[in-house]
């Protein structure tokens, strides 16, 4: 059962206490949002969960296993697409499979099977520079998905896109989420995006970062994709805004 538990994680970076004992949990098929002011160590948190960085204190459990400081269980998707300009899209996306030892041809075929779902149908042989920003982000997400299909860590995946593309991508993400139902941790500093997408939101404080507010969102992911009309929306939004000191 895919589940991420972050337990009392703290980390000092460059002499500054960045994370001051963070506790988070994303259960099976949860869509957990992480909201916080910029520079509050959200990306450090993902580096620790994915095993790239070792916390000074605390542990990370995935599926109940202690994976603190060990890579290989989950990778995460960043704001930058980080596709290699030297490879076409299908080759780029199949990299995690190839790195796991699958022969290139099979890896490409397996990656190509997901292209329709990720809205990349027909663009297999295109190079990243020939694609729009939204498509490149979808390709980057497919690559993340192919590394670990049950857990997705997304670090402001749509932050570099324009508002209209961003809205479309959010609706598309909901569609994909409903189809593959993974456990998601989603970093953002867009309150409305968090309220639109997430089941649960963790609001982080400024440095040293701790969880300031944990809140459950009852009206998340409306299928119509339009404005959410709910009396509680304003109440929850204000609570989140208050926690963010806006």
């Amino acid at each position: 059962m895919p589940e991420i538990v972050v337990e009392g994680v703290s980390k000092t970076l460059g002499g500054m206490l960045t994370l001051g004992g963070v506790n988070l949990k994303a259960g099976d098929r949860d869509f957990a949002g992480i909201l916080g002011p910029s520079g509050c160590g959200k990306s450090t948190l993902f580096n620790i969960i994915s095993g790239l960085m070792r916390p000074d204190q605390g542990r990370v459990y995935i599926d109940g296993l202690d994976v603190t400081g060990r890579t290989g269980r989950v990778s995460y998707m960043r704001q930058k697409d980080l596709l290699l300009p030297s490879l076409n899209i299908v080759e780029n996306v199949s990299i995690p499979l190839a790195l796991k030892g699958m022969p290139k041809k099979r890896a490409c075929a397996q990656a190509a099977a997901h292209f329709k779902q990720f809205g990349l149908d027909g663009f297999e042989k295109y190079y990243p520079s020939q694609l729009s920003g939204g498509m490149r982000q979808r390709a980057a997400m497919l690559r993340t998905y192919l590394f670990s299909s049950d857990i997705l860590l997304l670090d402001e995946p749509f932050a570099s896109l324009d508002a209209i593309t961003k809205r479309k991508m959010q609706a598309w993400l909901i569609e994909v989420f409903n189809a593959i139902s993974p456990t998601v941790m989603y970093i953002t500093h867009d309150v409305d995006e968090a309220l639109y997408l997430c089941d649960r939101i963790y609001v982080l404080s400024a440095c040293p970062t701790v969880v300031k507010l944990e809140i459950t969102v009852p009206f998340c992911r409306p299928p119509h994709g339009r404005t959410i009309v709910d009396r509680e929306y304003g109440v929850i939004r204000d609570k989140v805004m208050e926690a963010l000191e806006i």
Partner: protein, 265 residues
């Protein structure tokens, strides 16, 4: 839609016109001016021959020049290939092992301050009048631009790429081969183009000081006998060789990294 296509074609045509005909016209203008001055002031051939005389000498001596050019070209290509090989080995070690980088970087930069004409005679003392000392000069001239461009290309790779691949459990060699090397290729090729143009010059400098055959020695001998038209003919040959090598590298670049041209658009 149609009108836009027409506009873009005509724009493309006008750009080609600008890129080719303007510099070509300027060169022709210069040559005509040169010929005119030589004729007008009746400057003797042993001081300054006109372009027409240079071309005539070039054509008359074509077999001899071709023979010399052949040696120069062999030295060039051998030196160029060795320089690429060495710079790859050295740069790989410098990039992967910081001890190497710290030890070698200042040395490589400092080596550029040594005038090549001052060390070239030493190679003749040590290795004789054959091709080897010339090849060494070419290697020395070409190594620096290639190594530095490759090194900076590798250093410029976004750290996020490396972290992403590390999180997907790619090893160091795999990261180097899959991520760093391809991303550094455009920088590498720009260094390669520069040294392609330098390499012929390196070989000629090597030959000046003494050789059995080559455009450099042909130049020196012609100069000593005041056959200035032959010197110019040799210069013409050097220019043609350099340009050919430059074009060859550009062609290889298109084949090796076709994706780079998409990025430039």
């Amino acid at each position: 839609m149609i009108s836009r296509a027409v506009v873009s074609v005509s724009m493309k045509r006008s750009r080609i016109t600008a890129d080719i005909f303007i510099p070509l016209g300027f060169i022709i203008l210069l040559l005509v001016g040169w010929e005119y001055i030589v004729k007008l002031r009746s400057i003797p051939d042993w001081i300054l021959p006109g372009p027409v005389q240079v071309v005539r000498t070039f054509v008359d001596n074509a077999p001899l020049i071709a023979k010399h050019a052949q040696s120069t070209m062999i030295e060039c290509l051998a030196g160029f290939a060795l320089a690429i090989l060495f710079s790859f080995i050295v740069v790989f070690l410098m990039d992967e092992i910081s001890l190497f980088r710290k030890a070698l970087y200042p040395l490589i930069i400092a080596s550029q301050t040594i005038p090549i004409v001052s060390v070239a005679p030493l190679f003749i003392i040590w290795f004789g009048y054959g091709m080897l000392p010339k090849i060494i000069v070419v290697v020395l001239v070409c190594f620096f631009p290639i190594a530095i461009s490759l090194l900076s290309g590798l250093a410029a790779v976004d750290n996020d790429y490396l972290e992403l691949f590390r999180s997907m459990q790619a090893g160091r060699i795999k990261i180097f081969r899959m991520v760093k090397l391809p991303l550094a290729m455009p920088a590498f090729f720009s260094g390669l183009r520069i040294s392609a143009a330098y390499s012929v010059m390196g070989a000629v400098i090597g030959e000046w000081l003494g050789a059995k055959q080559g455009l450099g020695i042909y130049m020196t001998l012609s100069q000593r006998s005041f056959q200035v038209d032959r010197v110019f003919a040799a210069i013409l040959a050097v220019t043609v060789l350099s340009a050919a090598l430059f074009l060859l590298v550009s062609l290889i670049e298109r084949v090796v990294i076709p994706w780079n041209r998409l990025n430039e658009k």
